[in-house]
Symmetry: C2
Subunit: 404 residues, 2 copies
């Protein structure tokens, strides 16, 4: 196989070459998402491996489970990023062979920028992630702080911001990058020309706050959002504890859900009386939100005297929207027994980790998903993609030197 | 303009027609994301408007700011979904004219399913969102509960789960839907055939937990994740309060960041002494995580005696990664003055809301973004897309009747 040709793959994106100059979450997730749909994704790292190769959580061997998870099924080369010769060889990989897209979170090296690459080949697609539009630094946690959500997350009686642990902006950014890349790929197929795509992590968060109405609300109304614990805003939803201590989340979106919930919990007569006494109509979503404390008080009594198994049976029978809280520990218990039921997962034998259940793409195409492959080792694909004397030290040498 | 032809638009996706049979967040966000890149997106609603037309937050007029935000720049038709004739007319819109993709979160009507549509036209792309793979119900809040993150969010001393307010799984799902659709569009351009794409909200959450290493950690290590407040896992990051009560988030990812932070806060000598005394090396990321309480104690003292303006100046001068917490109220204050600085926002004059700053796409293509347009009113585009006698009641009649 010649270096410029994609690996033979199936999937919607078979034949698409992607070179990732990436790190952390968003850009590797972009590449992973494309790889899981059949693209040939090559991650370029400095000798010894990228900085995020050691990111927690780790397996007992020290192998990063985080890195392994975000780089499944990619190829990897390691080069001396301070060597102009090595950088040129990577740029050659980009511009030779089949059409290629670059995914990057750094504009440090001009050889990998859109200006130089598109001058060498006009159909290059170049996708760059920035912290802030225009080039300022930013990571998920700083963007969270800048954009309002931590101030309305957590218990109502707490004044402190509560960050979400899920790197939600990184996830969204990685997927927006893939959207931008594939939109440019569509145009390239029609016109033969490439594009430069830029995305700022902060813009992703601000655009989302705008799309969901938070920013319009702050501009055109006098309403101020406050923390409301696990209450769902503007409709009825909350968490409850059963008699035997299980925690469940309950959501009532429609009049039909509400009537079924009352039937399920034996509270129909109680709420008829309350509706009369308060001159309100609980079948209205906004009235349920208005009276959420009252509703929760009565429901909490029902859950508090109902064992989990009974509550689950009753809620399911009435087709109520609810879920039990589960921990990661529970999901991974007994070798991931709870995950094995799902077609989403398949066993991957990852060096340094061993066989474990890893996700395929959540995107199902005509009923099928590609199988996941292990993440590559540092420089694993140097021999096939960058043969010759130019990379003077092998990755294995470099790792040995680093450890010595 | 004939009904089957896309509106003349610029953007990467000009010429792509998308019909949305959608509601709530994920499927409308998929359509919005495509519309913001130039696709012609048509949202189909029942007479009187979709259920999410009234979703909070609301403008003083009662117009949903949430709905307006997620449906900017789309067209909308309203039909009697219980009428087979009306459904056929919508299906005709899908299969006639230029290539079309369908985005849906319901398999209720066979006329809009992949089987019937692809039998009528083989290049139809059909993208369906489900709650759980295989068809079970689920919304962002129930999927959150099922997949581990609320159990590790919030203060360490709290046993209760903390849901994230941001509908992060809806956002990710909407973007995954767009990725799947565009990947299928790429194949359609190459082969002329369509595809059926399915995505389950629960799979999005489980795949993400897997991609980030949480599920592998639970399978192959004995380490158990616990709540850690606003501490960043596996590296050093936390929130602090300045002498004058401002709250800031600080993140230290690299050895260089760490050294600059010590220089900025005058703590270099203190940590040299501590490193000797504890026989540790704070230049190691894992050691900083290990000793995060100690580091935070000393940094909290510095922030506690330093006014915000001084802290900001010092941190910026040393190029430390940090951010001040802002509320939505602050972002929207004075007509969104803080937003006006950004090219992300432009004024949209939304009926029922008035002029306000609304986001364009976070995706910037060759330095430019398309301008945002207002969200459509119920049935606004019936006259141009579904002319004739079949839709017997006009949307305006229906709204009047609903209010009467």
């Amino acid at each position: 196989m010649s270096p410029g040709e994609p690996r033979s793959r199936s999937g919607l994106l078979a034949g698409l070459r992607v070179v990732e100059l990436s790190s952390y979450v968003a850009t590797p997730l972009c590449g992973l998402t494309l790889a899981q749909l059949g693209a040939d994704v090559l991650r370029v790292e400095p000798l010894g491996g990228a900085a995020d190769r050691t990111r927690w959580p780790l397996a007992d061997s020290g192998t990063s489970l985080y890195w392994s998870g975000l780089n499944k099924g990619k190829r990897a080369v390691a080069v001396d990023m301070e060597s102009a010769e090595d950088r040129r060889r990577v740029a050659d990989l980009i511009v030779r062979g089949g059409p290629c897209a670059v995914v990057s979170n750094s504009d440090r090296y001009p050889e990998f920028g859109y200006a130089e690459l598109s001058a060498r080949r006009r159909d290059v697609i170049h996708v760059l992630l920035e912290g802030r539009a225009g080039g300022g630094a930013g990571v998920d946690y700083t963007v969270q702080a800048a954009t309002g959500f931590p101030m309305i997350t957590g218990a109502p009686d707490s004044a402190s911001p509560v960050n979400h642990v899920l790197p939600a902006w990184d996830i969204a950014a990685g997927l927006y990058l893939a959207v931008g890349l594939l939109a440019a790929e569509r145009e390239r197929l029609c016109t033969g020309r490439g594009r430069e795509i830029r995305l700022a992590l902060e813009d992703v968060a601000l655009a989302t706050a705008g799309n969901l109405g938070y920013l319009a609300e702050a501009q055109v109304t006098s309403h101020r959002r406050t923390k409301s614990g696990n209450d769902v805003f503007g409709t009825y939803g909350r968490d409850f504890v059963t008699a035997d201590g299980e925690r469940v989340m309950l959501v009532i979106l429609t009049k039909r859900h509400w009537e079924k919930l009352l039937a399920a919990t034996g509270l129909t007569a109680a709420f008829e009386g309350l509706a009369d006494a308060l001159d309100t109509d609980f079948s209205s979503e906004s009235q349920r939100y208005e009276h959420r404390e009252l509703i929760s008080t009565l429901l909490a009594r029902w859950f508090g005297v109902t064992p989990y198994a009974k509550a689950a049976e009753v809620l399911d029978r009435h087709r109520i929207l609810w879920e039990r809280y589960r921990s990661f520990e529970e999901l991974g218990r007994d070798g991931g027994a709870a995950l094995r039921e799902s077609d989403l997962f398949a066993v991957v034998d990852q060096p340094g980790v061993g066989p474990h259940l890893a996700p395929k793409s959540p995107i199902v195409v005509d009923g099928a998903r590609l199988e996941p492959g292990p993440a590559p080792e540092v420089g694993q694909h140097n021999p096939e993609l960058l043969p010759g004397p130019h990379v003077t030290r092998s990755p294995a040498d470099e790792r040995g030197a680093g450890a010595a």
